[in-house]
């Protein structure tokens, strides 16, 4: 088991490295270096950057040196918690992202949680009661969930909420608590607003997991050991939950790790539509303004968060299912 976790962790470190390279590429892509665009930015705001300041910035980021040196310097700064300056906001990137990043984490984790909580029982139900009304409803909702891109779903729900109930379903906070400091009331408010975005984000993943769970469980239910257990007089619930479900969990488990990247990806666009105060809208703004340090940092943080999340769910799964431990990666 330790070997397995070790292998996973190694891969995770590798992935983080790959993500950091990609984020660096994004920062480097626009023509000109960071300092020239910073100077231009400052000039357009009416303030002047002295030559000395510019020189200092250039040294700090190693501009003009080979690309790999620049990358290493950037990495070193990040290791110290210095993510650079956001040109558009003229504040350190960490300060700009701040709360928004944690709200992104909250929304993503909530959707992931919802995916698990919904997909498991519905999948089990539609396998056990195959071809029942509930099964058909589940399958139908599943197909809708897979086919409708989540930002369109968000748009439609928003429109329906607006026209039918005259309510604005977007956002994560009520207007009066928008900028309030954290308090119990604000946390409660967040919890009340969370289900709709979490549901929209998790729907596609849920649909997929329901299908996988249903198919696997159906395969298991046809096996002779189920008949044996039943003939020995086990109650139906005990029987199903104890053996076939546990066996069917394996493929289910191995795909759930890929759900988080989907959710994080989707959260960017859905946040824009629903007006959620996550990093999504910030990323879009940064990209349009070519505020590359901010954009690169967001991509990096999202990537790292996904990798950690996936690693955690991988480890949880090993703990749940002993068979994975023995399997090769």
């Amino acid at each position: 088991m330790l070997a397995y976790i070790g292998r996973r962790a190694l891969l995770a470190i590798f992935t983080v490295w790959a993500i950091s390279v990609l984020s660096f590429v994004i920062i480097q892509l626009p023509p000109g270096d960071y300092v020239t665009s910073y100077i231009a930015q400052m000039a357009s705001m009416g303030s002047v950057v002295t030559d000395e300041e510019a020189q200092n910035l250039r040294i700090q980021y190693g501009l003009g040196q080979p690309v790999y040196v620049q990358y290493l310097k950037w990495m070193r700064l990040i290791a110290q918690g210095n993510f650079g300056m956001s040109m558009e906001w003229r504040r350190p990137v960490t300060e700009v992202i701040g709360e928004r990043f944690w709200l992104t984490v909250v929304v993503s984790v909530a959707s992931l949680f919802l995916t698990w909580v919904l997909a498991l029982p519905i999948g089990i139900y539609s396998a056990v009661r195959q071809y029942s009304v509930g099964d058909y409803v589940g399958t139908f909702v599943g197909f809708i969930g897979l086919a409708v891109p989540n930002f369109l779903l968000a748009l439609v729900l928003l429109y329906l909420g607006f026209t039918l109930f005259n309510a604005h379903i977007g956002g994560l906070f009520s207007p009066e608590l928008q900028d309030a400091p954290w308090s119990m009331a604000r946390v409660w408010d967040l919890l009340k607003h969370l289900p709709i975005p979490a549901l929209i984000l998790g729907l596609a993943g849920t649909a997929q997991q329901i299908r996988i769970m249903r198919a696997n469980l159906l395969d298991e239910l046809r096996k002779p050991y189920v008949v044996t257990a039943r003939s020995k007089g086990l109650t139906e619930i005990d029987l199903i939950l104890k053996y076939p479900v546990r066996l069917a969990l394996n493929p289910f488990a191995s795909t759930i790790g890929y759900t988080l990247p989907y959710i994080v990806s989707g959260s960017i666009i859905v946040s824009l539509v629903l007006g959620l105060p996550t990093v999504g809208p910030l990323l879009l703004k940064a990209l349009i303004a070519q505020d590359m340090f901010l954009a690169g940092t967001i991509v990096l943080l999202l990537g790292v968060m996904t990798v950690i999340g996936t690693l955690v769910s991988d480890i949880l799964l090993v703990w749940v299912d002993p068979r994975i431990r023995l399997e090769e990666t």
Binding site: L11, F14, T15, F143, V148, Y159, P261, L272, L284, G303
Partner: protein
């Protein structure tokens, strides 16, 4: 799709042992792989219906300018945000489709344009009416369109099946052109991912060893990265002065660079399962070159699987392009795609007042669903020994 032109007859039983028909059994034994696949596919009614829907969409791609009746770029402030006009099919008892004329005026209190239909004036809708000039199939210059109204550009005599956008451009016509771009971008993108997927998946599956480990790790890494932020970053870095065509290809490359993993996985799986098959071993033993073994003996036997996987990969491409363009990072106006059209529906307030701006979402959903069902059907059919 391989369509066997043999007259199979209605009784070409695809079920072995259905009835006493020994003949049909015989047919199955001698049928080619494509025939078997077609027989299995035909049984899957939803998939067949989806195939028809997909074909219909691609016909729109081909005939977009014929189906559009108004110049998609002709803007007119006087017709901004006009609601869809209802088409009345029967004039009295006679078939003669017409729409009522619409009068626009500025509301002096809210300064919005308000439209009301004028039931006293009927505008007949003509089939094969005249409109803007274009080249049918890119070859034949013509001005005929599927429908049209008399009066040409006369502002009072117009038809807007799906209403107009903020700039007063006809949404139906724009949707037709958008279909062309959205659906071809998927095809180009999927072709590129297919090349990448087959080459890398093939290497991985055929040679195994270090190449396999390396490629599998790369796939795992790519799959654990949230793609949309990355796409956004790459797309935003495209130079602003690029032409529509350049952006179009850049976007397809960006999308396919990260989307080949699923195809590679399928190809690798097939290679692995075929590598030890008798016919492959014997091909190798009689001295076929590696290239010949792969392309003459192995690839044809899993071609059908690749087609199915490709069909399943297409909707994801279409959605990606729509999402990027919706954010304003993909194709940019004056290019038209579903995503570009949906950009106008970003704002709830706008949508609440003019809900027809959300209509471009309908083809996205329909086509994605159709491709999913079609791909499912193909995948089931591709495995002749499956359940």
């Amino acid at each position: 799709m391989a369509t066997p032109d043999v007259a199979l007859g209605p009784t070409s039983a695809s079920l072995p042992g259905a009835g006493a028909a020994d003949v049909s059994k015989q047919r199955i034994f001698v049928a080619s792989q494509w025939q078997l696949m077609w027989w299995r596919f035909r049984k899957h009614k939803v998939a067949v219906a989806s195939a028809l829907v997909v074909i219909g969409f691609y016909l729109v791609v081909v005939g977009a300018d014929f189906l559009a009746y108004a110049d998609p770029n002709a803007s007119e402030a006087q017709r901004s945000l006009m609601p869809p006009q209802r088409v009345h099919l029967f004039d009295g008892w006679r078939f003669g489709p017409y729409v009522y004329a619409v009068k626009g005026a500025r509301d002096l209190q809210s300064f919005k344009r308000v439209y009301r239909t004028d039931p006293s004036e009927k505008i007949p809708v003509r089939f094969f009416g005249k409109g803007f000039e274009y080249r049918f199939l890119g070859l034949i210059p013509t001005t005929r369109h599927l429908i049209g109204v008399d009066g040409g550009r006369d502002a009072a005599k117009t038809i807007f099946l799906l209403g107009t956008d903020v700039q007063g451009r006809d949404l139906w016509s724009r949707l037709m052109y958008g279909t062309r771009i959205s659906l071809t971008i998927g095809l180009v993108g999927v072709t590129m991912s297919l090349v990448l997927g087959v080459v890398l998946g093939g290497l991985s599956g055929f040679y195994g060893g270090i190449a396999d480990t390396l490629i599998q790790r790369i796939i795992e890494i790519l799959r654990s990265i949230p793609t949309i932020p990355l796409w956004m970053g790459l797309a935003a870095a495209l130079p602003r002065d690029w032409s529509i065509l350049q952006v179009y290809f850049a976007i397809t490359i960006i999308i396919s660079l990260l989307a080949w993993t699923e195809l590679a996985r399928v190809v690798r799986g097939r290679f692995l399962s075929l590598r030890e098959e008798d016919f492959v071993v014997s091909a190798r033993l009689v001295g076929c070159s590696q290239m010949r073994t792969i392309f003459v003996h192995m690839v044809p036997s899993f071609m059908s699987h690749i087609i199915a996987a490709t069909t399943l990969a297409l909707p994801a491409m279409i959605v990606s392009e729509t999402a990027l363009s919706f954010l304003g990072l993909g194709l940019r106006p004056p290019a038209m795609s579903w995503g570009v059209l949906l950009q106008q529906a970003q704002n709830v307030q706008t949508v609440a007042i003019s809900p027809w701006l959300m209509l471009p979402a309908v083809p996205v959903i329909v086509v994605v669903m159709a491709f999913n069902f079609l791909g499912d059907g193909l995948r089931d059919a591709a495995d002749p020994y499956g359940r």
